[in-house]
């Protein structure tokens, strides 16, 4: 069946089986493999995307159910080489090790900060409680989200940081006037 979803601001249409899960639509049909496919049982949260702005486990949504809806994936966080403050926070505070849970964590953090720009630690822990991280013990993830809360205007990786400061990817003029 024909399914049309707004993914990262672009309307995409594909002819898929009705039973196709959103996570597979994103990964296999659109090649957006930043959304990870983890436990398949609605537990681990690796597949979390923003669905109409809120974190949802994309392994538990049929692609046809998302028809007409707005889906944002981790690929949408960075704009023209400018990282979202939550991405910066995870870099600054070692919010990841293996990185498998990271896309979902980043999106949940983004949605949390959009609703609550200054969340307390317990609020952050509650927000990420549906997502499993086997590396960090969560402490650095919580710290990373706090970092993002404290640096809402974080524009781009600081000069001197590995992978940062060179190339055309980082442009001052690419900073949105109003960060989300």
């Amino acid at each position: 069946m024909e399914v049309s979803i707004t993914v990262n601001d672009a309307l995409v249409s594909r002819d898929v089986e009705a039973r196709m899960l959103l996570v597979h639509f994103l990964r296999d049909e659109l090649g957006l493999t930043g959304t990870h496919w983890g436990c398949d049982t609605t537990n681990c949260g690796a597949c979390v995307v923003l669905y109409d702005g809120e974190p949802v486990k994309s392994c538990t949504v049929l692609a046809p159910m998302a028809d007409g809806h707005d889906v944002r994936t981790v690929e949408h966080l960075e704009v023209d080489g400018v990282l979202d403050p939550v991405q910066r926070g995870f870099m600054e505070c070692h919010g990841l090790q293996c990185g498998f849970c990271t896309p979902g964590m980043l999106l949940t953090a983004r949605a949390l900060l959009d609703r609550d720009p200054d969340p307390a630690e317990h609020t952050i822990r509650e927000a990420i409680s549906g997502q499993i991280c086997r590396c960090t013990g969560y402490a650095t993830i919580v710290r990373s989200v706090r970092w993002a809360a404290e640096h809402p205007e974080a524009e781009h990786p600081e000069a001197g940081h590995p992978e940062a400061g060179h190339g055309d990817a980082v442009r001052e003029d690419a900073v949105p006037e109003e960060l989300p």
Partner: protein
């Protein structure tokens, strides 16, 4: 990879449309709301509908929590998160927020619905226990109109409810009674898991005595268990510890748990006892305007 078996999919544009689709598509058609119980069961082939009727487009019409005279009406498509964040429910029926805090996790609560939870009728499901505790009435709509079924008659067995094939649960009505308090507690193995045992309690006080009380247990029998003996034992008594202890003993004796990987029958009876006492204690304090 776990994916559901092949299905046909249709979207309902109204309750009448959903009921019409169910009638037309036959017994193998099933409503999907949030889908966070149904889709995992479909992946495991524990549920094998051939057609899904998606009612998420009805969310705007069927998502509401409003006081209406002597009832609070809650739309069946109200999502867990909306129940959790409702100040009206927190003020009038704090049991909802107690329960929602421990139902699954935030992303799941963004999708799952009240109606879906009740109609899924998992014996370990929390909102069935909450609605049983509050003596709620379910409003079910079919092609010939609506009918009302009290929670005590809603469950027909595990995963079976009073909702007929071509019918849809559209609203839950909670009676509003003065001087009441309510609470919910759950023991689970890890955050977001199904209950080992959970208990809800509601209590109404007047002149320092219990005028009525209700207890609803989850995960201790084929369905959510309301225990009338507990209500009988509490009415007319003072809200005191020995009274709650008697209620706990009755709850432990009156439920029907089985030994499974979550715990032994004896442990679950112990939990039914202890959680009944604790929820009654909190509910009584709330009814009296105190913090437990």
């Amino acid at each position: 990879m776990q994916v559901p078996a092949p299905i046909e999919y249709a979207r309902a544009t109204s309750v009448a449309d959903a009921v019409g689709l169910l009638e037309r598509l036959g017994e193998e058609a099933r409503i999907i709301a949030g889908g966070h119980s149904l889709l995992p069961m479909m992946k495991l082939r524990l549920a094998t509908p051939e057609y899904l009727v998606d009612i998420n487009d009805l969310h705007d019409d069927l998502s509401y929590i409003e006081e209406d005279g002597d009832v609070v009406r809650i739309g069946a498509m109200t999502r867990h998160r909306e129940l959790l964040e409702s100040e009206l429910l927190w003020t009038m029926f704090p049991i909802f927020r107690d329960a929602e805090r421990v139902i699954a996790d935030p992303p799941v609560r963004n999708r799952g619905t009240l109606g879906g939870a009740l109609c899924q009728a998992d014996p370990s499901e929390d909102l069935s226990s909450v609605c049983t505790t509050l003596d709620a009435v379910c409003v079910i709509q079919g092609s010939s109109g609506t009918r009302e079924v009290p929670m005590d008659e809603f469950h027909h067995g595990p995963y079976q409810t009073a909702v007929g094939h071509a019918e849809m649960l559209v609203e839950v009505r909670i009676p509003v009674r003065r001087h009441g308090g309510s609470a919910y507690l759950k023991v689970d193995r890890r955050a977001g898991d199904w209950a080992v045992v959970a208990a809800g309690a509601a209590i109404w006080l007047e002149g320092g005595l219990i005028t009525d009380a209700r207890v609803g247990l989850a995960a201790v029998g084929p369905n959510t268990t309301g225990i009338p003996e507990v209500s009988d034992a509490l009415r007319g008594r003072p809200p005191e510890e020995d009274v709650f202890a008697e209620a706990g003993r009755l709850a432990a004796a009156g439920c029907n748990p089985v030994t499974d990987p979550r715990g032994t029958e004896a442990y679950k009876r112990h939990l039914a006892d202890e959680l009944t006492r604790r929820t009654l204690r909190i509910a009584a304090a709330r009814a009296a305007g105190r913090t437990a």
